[in-house]
């Protein structure tokens, strides 16, 4: 029962794969048994207490999880924070071409704590993306996308795409110069599609250019999509709980001694890192709230003048660089979408039987080069597309795709991996375990 390629997760849902450490059969985690009669009455009719207990209290969690595993909880926290601040911001926002910019300024100046709510929401989006990139990089480094977690990974890619759409539409709402022109550039991407491209763009705009109809529909969808994300996150966590967490060793837990109860260990680890993360979040919100905001967005949208330096928000910059590094319009758009869609295929592109990069010395090096390429593309996305920046963008773009399409399939065949530990306990406690 060691992660060989089979179709189904072994022996049903987690934690039924765990054996008892004394050898007497399968391990059964504690079950929710309320002492209070009222709670028993509710539980018999709607077993939410039992669900919560078995999912986040008694849930067996690999005992060797490191802090990179807390980012799922951080992301859940940030989603709640964005929804809460977003809902209260909508109480003061006007989604009209004439009123949007002024309503945001009114929020900043007149609404009680409006400045705080706006900065929380705008910087919260950046922190949300920072956390999602850490979360994705963790998955790639430790092989969390491999069998049996392929669907979990793909759900994650879907969440990421929804986040990108939500973030883009949210940025349009203040109706500044950057909002308007980012909307124009991104919607124009679809004009690259042959034959149906232009009708699609007109349909997206609701007019002959980006205008009030565009703003209003983006507002509606920006309110809707976070709740769609919430739904897919529920599926994501469900898929996780069917197969159980991966862990830094990439070796399946064998007995209950390889695990600890989720509460209090993982719960407190999550809460602790959420607090640390909030310090970084608070640093932006209270000391440098406009650092990540483009100055041009303080100019009301002018459909007649394009800013000299259109840049998307930092979390889109790598894809922006990939788009601009391809000289052909349609191929550039295809490369842009392919750079995200390729992620969905890595459970099958990576042929290695070994999950964690800890035991894959070559993969580790190629992976970090790939991270450097991503950061490099991000930096290049903020530069004007000329001279050395174009050359570097093309080099990094080639490596970006080569990592998925060449390195991952080949390394699985040719890489000499390090020997895996016999169990998680052994990797944590040494051979005495």
């Amino acid at each position: 029962m060691t992660g060989h390629s089979t179709v189904d997760p072994p022996a049903g849902a987690w934690p039924s794969q765990l054996k008892r450490s004394d050898g007497k059969g399968l391990y059964e985690p504690p079950v929710y048994r309320p002492k209070n009669a009222l709670l028993r009455w509710v539980e018999a009719r709607l077993p939410i207490g039992g669900l919560i207990y078995s999912s986040v209290v008694a849930y067996p969690t690999p005992r060797n999880l490191n802090y990179w595993w807390t980012f799922g909880a951080i992301l859940t926290f940030m989603l709640m924070a964005q929804i809460a601040t977003g809902v209260v911001l909508v109480m003061h926002y006007a989604a009209t071409a004439d009123g949007a910019f002024d309503s945001v300024e009114r929020i900043m100046r007149d609404v009680n704590y409006g400045w705080l709510l706006r900065y929380l929401h705008a910087n919260g989006a950046s922190m949300f993306f920072l956390a999602v990139y850490v979360h994705m990089f963790r998955g790639m480094y430790y092989g969390s996308y491999k069998e049996p977690r392929e669907v979990l990974w793909i759900l994650g890619v879907i969440i990421y795409l929804l986040m990108m759409a939500t973030g883009f539409m949210g940025y349009v709402l203040p109706w500044g110069q950057m909002s308007f022109w980012a909307a124009t550039v991104i919607t124009n991407l679809f004009s690259a599609i042959p034959i149906v491209g232009d009708p699609i763009v007109t349909w997206l705009w609701g007019g002959y250019a980006v205008g009030e109809p565009t703003l209003q529909r983006f507002f509606s969808l920006h309110y809707l999509l976070p709740f769609v994300i919430l739904g897919v996150v529920v599926l994501h966590i469900w898929a996780l709980h069917v197969v159980g967490q991966n862990n830094p060793a990439g070796v399946d837990p064998q007995t209950e001694k390889d695990t600890v109860a989720f509460t209090p260990y993982a719960t407190l680890k999550d809460i602790f890192l959420i607090a640390v993360f909030c310090i970084a979040y608070g640093w932006f919100v209270f000391y440098i709230p406009n650092y990540l905001l483009a100055a041009d967005n303080f100019i009301p949208a002018n459909p007649g003048v394009t800013p000299t330096h259109i840049v998307p928000e930092w979390y889109y910059l790598p894809f922006y660089a990939i788009l601009r590094s391809i000289p052909d319009k349609l191929m550039g758009v295809i490369a842009l979408f392919a750079s995200i869609i390729v992620l969905a295929f890595i459970p099958w592109l990576d042929t290695s039987r070994v999950r964690s990069a800890r035991y894959r010395p070559l993969f580790k090096q190629f992976f970090w080069l790939w991270v450097i390429a991503c950061v490099g593309l991000g930096w290049l996305g903020s530069k004007q597309p000329e001279g050395i920046y174009v050359i570097l963008s093309r080099v990094f773009t080639v490596y970006y795709f080569a990592f998925f399409l060449i390195v991952m399939p080949l390394l699985g065949i040719f890489e000499k991996t390090k020997p895996l530990p016999n169990s998680i306990s052994e990797s944590v406690l040494g051979a005495k375990a």
């Binding site: 209260v88 100046r109 609404v111 009680n112 409006g114 705080l116 109860a261 809460i271």
Partner: protein, 175 residues
């Protein structure tokens, strides 16, 4: 979960409880802006500053309506008859006992300034209507007299008096 069970509270217990308390205070503090943002914002509060109304154009027996803080305010230049009617009522028989003198300013009893919101469910009563020569609310039939006091109908209280003062004999400041 490994717990050292002991009768005495341990250092660990103290740390857990202290952290939970600080966390709870932080959580409550985080809720404050989310709830406070629904209060009137600075521009609404600024629009609610006092207003001055010139009484000179208001003819005898005329009632005008002005708005202050989004509330309709009746300013009624009462005739001698209307003042008499208001003052001659036995206060004890009123549903909401209040003398006319308590509802007007000294030396200016020809000016009735009331908030034109029916104390029943908030409709605007009509001036110079009803059996008492005062106000009549068309929504559910409440009747007010020439001092704006409730006489008949479902409304429980007299029409409210806004804060106001005479800046001069022909000008008042409301608010």
């Amino acid at each position: 979960m490994t717990t050292a069970s002991s009768a005495e509270p341990t250092r660990r217990d103290f740390l857990y409880i202290a952290t939970a308390v600080v966390g709870a205070v932080g959580g409550a503090a985080a809720l404050v802006p989310l709830i406070a943002q629904m209060n009137p914002d600075a521009s609404t509060v600024a629009a609610g500053a006092p207003i001055e109304v010139d009484l000179a154009p208001i003819a005898d027996n005329q009632a005008i309506k002005v708005f202050w803080r989004s509330k309709p305010i009746y300013i009624w230049h009462r005739t001698k008859e209307e003042i008499q009617h208001a003052q001659n009522v036995d206060v004890a028989t009123l549903p909401d006992p209040q003398s006319d003198a308590a509802r007007v300013k000294d030396g200016h009893d020809q000016w009735l300034v009331v908030i034109g919101i029916c104390t029943h469910l908030g409709c605007i009563p009509l001036a110079h209507e009803g059996d008492y020569g005062g106000f009549f609310c068309p929504c559910h039939g409440s009747q007010y007299d020439t001092s704006g006091r409730i006489r008949r109908g479902p409304a429980p209280a007299n029409l409210a008096i806004p804060p106001y003062a005479f800046v001069s004999d022909s000008k008042i400041r409301i608010g």
